[in-house]
Each structure stands twice: as C-alpha cells, then as structure tokens.
Assembly symmetry: C2
Homo-oligomer: 335 residues x 2
Amino acid sequence: MKKNILRSKIIEIFKKHKLSENHSKICADYLIKAELIEAKSHGLTRLKMYCDRIKKKLINPKPNIKIKRISSSISHINADNSIGFVSADIGISQAIKNAKKTGIGLVGIKNSSHFGLSSFYAEQAVKKNLIVFCFTNAPPALAPHGAKKSLFGTNPICFGVPTGKVPFILDTSTSKINRGKIRHAHKFKKKIPFGVALDKYGKITTNAKNALHGTQLPIAEFKGSGLAWMVDILSGVLTGSSHGGKTKDPFDDFTGPQNVGHLFITIDPKIFIGQKFKMEMKKNIEIVKNLPKAKGFNSIMYPGERKNSLYKKNFNKDITIPKKILQEMDALNDI
Amino acid sequence: MKKNILRSKIIEIFKKHKLSENHSKICADYLIKAELIEAKSHGLTRLKMYCDRIKKKLINPKPNIKIKRISSSISHINADNSIGFVSADIGISQAIKNAKKTGIGLVGIKNSSHFGLSSFYAEQAVKKNLIVFCFTNAPPALAPHGAKKSLFGTNPICFGVPTGKVPFILDTSTSKINRGKIRHAHKFKKKIPFGVALDKYGKITTNAKNALHGTQLPIAEFKGSGLAWMVDILSGVLTGSSHGGKTKDPFDDFTGPQNVGHLFITIDPKIFIGQKFKMEMKKNIEIVKNLPKAKGFNSIMYPGERKNSLYKKNFNKDITIPKKILQEMDALNDI
C-alpha cells in the first residue's frame, strides 16, 4: 500500500476511535515508522490492540495530559492513560526543552501505555543535538534471576548520541529478543530462535505460544536481570507508575489501564568540552569502523545505522501488509 | 593481617610514594573495602601497579584537582592525573551536593585513572538517599561487534538506588567477566571460565595469559558491544577524556597517564512522588523476593546484597594476604 494512503487509513481509524486529528497523526506516523524500519512487531500488528483498549476505555482517547514543572531541568507528566505514542511525544519534547535550557533534562511520565519503540523518541533528542536515555517498563516477560516466574518486562535500555551523520541509537531490550517478535511469530505461526525463552515448565522452547505462556530469558543471566530491574525502578517506581510486575499486558489483560512509566534523560553534549564534542565523537566512530573486521563482517556498524538504512531503503516503497492485518484494518474502520 | 594494621601499612606505602596523608587514607580505605567484599581483583593485587605508575610519574601524587561549576546541577572535574580513588571520591561528593540542591546532578571527570569499583562511589550516593549512575571507561579488552581487535574496555554500568535497607547496587561490566578477574587468575596461575574470552587467534581460551593477549567477549554480542560503546561515549568522549581504545592499560602501558574518564549522574528519588518513593521501592523489592524460587535458589537477592553480606561477614576478620602480595608490600615500603 502507498505510504500516504496507509497513513490516511490509520488516521481515519484512530479518529473513529475518538482520538483527535493531531493525536491520530502522531500515532499513524510512529506506526508507519516501525514498518519502514522493519520493526514489524511494533507496527500495524499492534493497531487492533490499541483500538481494542480504546474501545474498552483502557486507553483514554481524549487525555488531559498535564506537565508539572519540578525545576527548569525536571518535569513530571501525568499522561491520563493516553496512548503511549502521544504522551512520549510530549515527554521527549519537554526533555529536549529542559536540556536546551539547563544542559540536562529529566522527564518522568506516569499513567502511560505502550509507546512503540524507544528509539522513536531518542532519535528526536539526537536530532536536536542531545545525548539521551529513554527507559520504559513493560508487562511481565522475564523471570528475575533466581525466580521461576516472569515479573520484569523486556524493559529496554535506549541511548542516543549525535554523530554529525546518522544518529547513534542503541535500543536494546534486556531480554534476549523483544517480546513483540515472539508475539509476531505467534500471530504468523512462525518459530522463535532457540535459547531465548522457556515454556511454563522451564524448558527451552521455539514455540511462540509456549514462550508467551512461559518466561523469556534475560541477556547475561543476573546482569540482564539486574538491568531489567534497574529499568523497572527508573521508569516504574521513580515516576509513580506501576512496577514489580503490575504493568498490564496490552494484549491479554483488559482489567485496567496499563499504567506504564517512561523516563527520559537528556544531556547537552557541549556542557564539558563545547564544540570539540562533535569532532571527538566523529573520531570515536571512525576509529571503531576502521578496526580489522571479524570473519563474516564487511563493515562495523554502530547502533542505529542498520535501522536508518532500512528506513531509507523502504522510504519510497509501498508497504506490504499481510492479509490478516488488512482484514483487521477493514474491521476497525467499519465501526 | 588485622585490618587496622593493614590500613596503616597501605597508608605508609602511599605516603612514601608522596601521596598526602588524606589521599593515602582514601586509597587505603577503598583497597581494604575491595578485600572485604572479596573483590580481590580490585584490592591489594593492584597496590604495586598504582605505586609503579606514581614512580613513573604517570599518576600524579600531588594533583591539583579542579572542580569547574557548569551550573548548580553540572560540574566538570579535571583530575590532573590523580589516582582514580581520589578524583572519584571528590567527584561523587560533588554529584551528591548537586542533586541535593537541584534534584539532579551530573559530574564529568577527566584526566583520571583506575578508581577501583564503581560500586564504591554509587554506595556513597545511595547512602545519601540518591539514585545514581556511575560510568567509567577502561583500557581495551573487548572487540566491538564485527571487529576482531579489542577496543572497548570492560566498561561497567553501575546503578544504585536506596531501599531503606541494604543499598541496591548493580555494578556490571559489559564483558562476560571483569578484566581484574582474568589478571588475578593470571597472577595466581588459575584458569578462567570457559566462554568468556578468546585468544589472539580468535579461539575460546581458559588460559588467563592468552585471554589477556586476546579479546574478552561482551555480554549478549551486539547488545553488550553497544552498551560498552555507550559507556565509552559517556565517560570518555563527553567528559573530554581518552576514548576509542586510547585509555592506557595501567599494568602494561607506561607510555603516559591513563586519562580515564568517569561520569556520575545523581537523582533525588523524591522529585516525582516525594516520600512515597521509599514505600514503593520497598514494595518492589518485596514482590520480587517473594516470587517462587528457581531450582537451586533459596532466596532471590537484589544487586548489592551479596557484596554487602560479604562485607559484614569479613568486617571483623583478619584479611588474608597471599605471600606474593606481602612481598610486594614489603618492597614498596622499602624505598
């Protein structure tokens, strides 16, 4: 489907679900962005879920989002159960403003919901020449080290830095693979890689459904478990959002709003060494890229480069939409 | 050896190497702390290295450490090639002050050197009821994903948060094990675990010497490589320190000062939800600890608990010092 036609369709669907024109556009653009970078697990496959939650009044289509100023660096946002795209979009703008004013920005968001990929927001800060951290918690998917029950989300760590060229954006879940990929595999009846998840009996499984009912494995055992816990504290406990496994699964749990929390930290990279930062950052990347390559590698890429090249490659192409999702879209448009 | 006798001996050694009384005490206390928490790779085994670098004028025993105020939240410290313990000790105090004043502190330190364990500094901030990140870069040990040559250090991520009880302190290198452990194994002719390092030909090795000449493996492949890169940018590029593999190895490279960089971020956890933070944090930990245990686990511990219990266990015991290190200490005292 042509991108602009798809965009109009998504906007139409969100508007029919009572989102404002502006909020519908924000959501449509992020969903299309996910498709363009081939993060299909965070794209159109989630459209029905968002709409289902709006219909069940678990996402508020007309949120009264309040930004509380704590200081010129720090802001606290009550998202009023908005769709995550909208509250995170407002949150990152505020974090950018704060860092531009004072050198460092810190924005906590509570009462939010799934916001797509952290890199969407990191990219905006990086394009304004800021260093950025984006943290968000997520519904239970990982067992803490020593436990046999899922509790932490796949809680990504996202870090961005301006390079003068393509933004350096590391966006890595603390699980071996992100949960969206398992959901996507389940939806399209595909297998998941070996060694990334256990079934409910604690055995390694490549069956997506069994993995969803079991536990995903963290990266590096106690290290990954600790990092997931860190993200739960920063985005959940600190911001006043749900935490400790209370974040609701957007697909399966319709007993209440998700109450996801996000935390954004923005830093002006010029604070210590001024304009020299640009030059040093360029040098840093050049040194790494010029290292002798390991077997099977033609080039060394920094985090964010691959997604950027996918975005460029797909930008002028039509977006292929599986029949199942087209049917979902038709049904969503038909209310 | 009795702790107070050991302390006097270390202070004596540092004073003979021209450190001030105060700086000697700071260094002695951190080295003893490493022994008490059984992080022997960061304890007395390094004393000779620090002294060698002082003798060769690569660590400045009488540094003129300057703190530059960027704003009430942000400070930049020029460590003047001090021993890392001293500059990091000053740096964390400043980061604590800044966060107490404004809710968030950011301190960058340049021209520093190896500072022991990041958890030493995180703990101080946590004991003042702050959330904290400590980042430091380190000499080449890890190959970036796609490269076959070491460039990043084992670049730890350290995160601390007050719990009302034992501090939650995650201190995790982005390598599968920390380099100090490999050095320690080398010094005492022990094997290293399988699968954590490659020799210079790219083969997995359990020989510590071959590992030191080869490459350590990052946690979780490109994810760990990306996290190590992030730490290099934050503590190296941002602060105006060495980066991109230019940080000198303190044991092997005597061609100049190490020029390590550190970055501390401190956050007052009360900024968003006030005193409620304490209660929620307590709840968070209780929920995790009460999960059903995996096979082989009697309890679920949070990061920092194990080290804390080792510290308590060893606090009133004599410290066992290998003969080799006793000989080194005698020689260092005999100048």
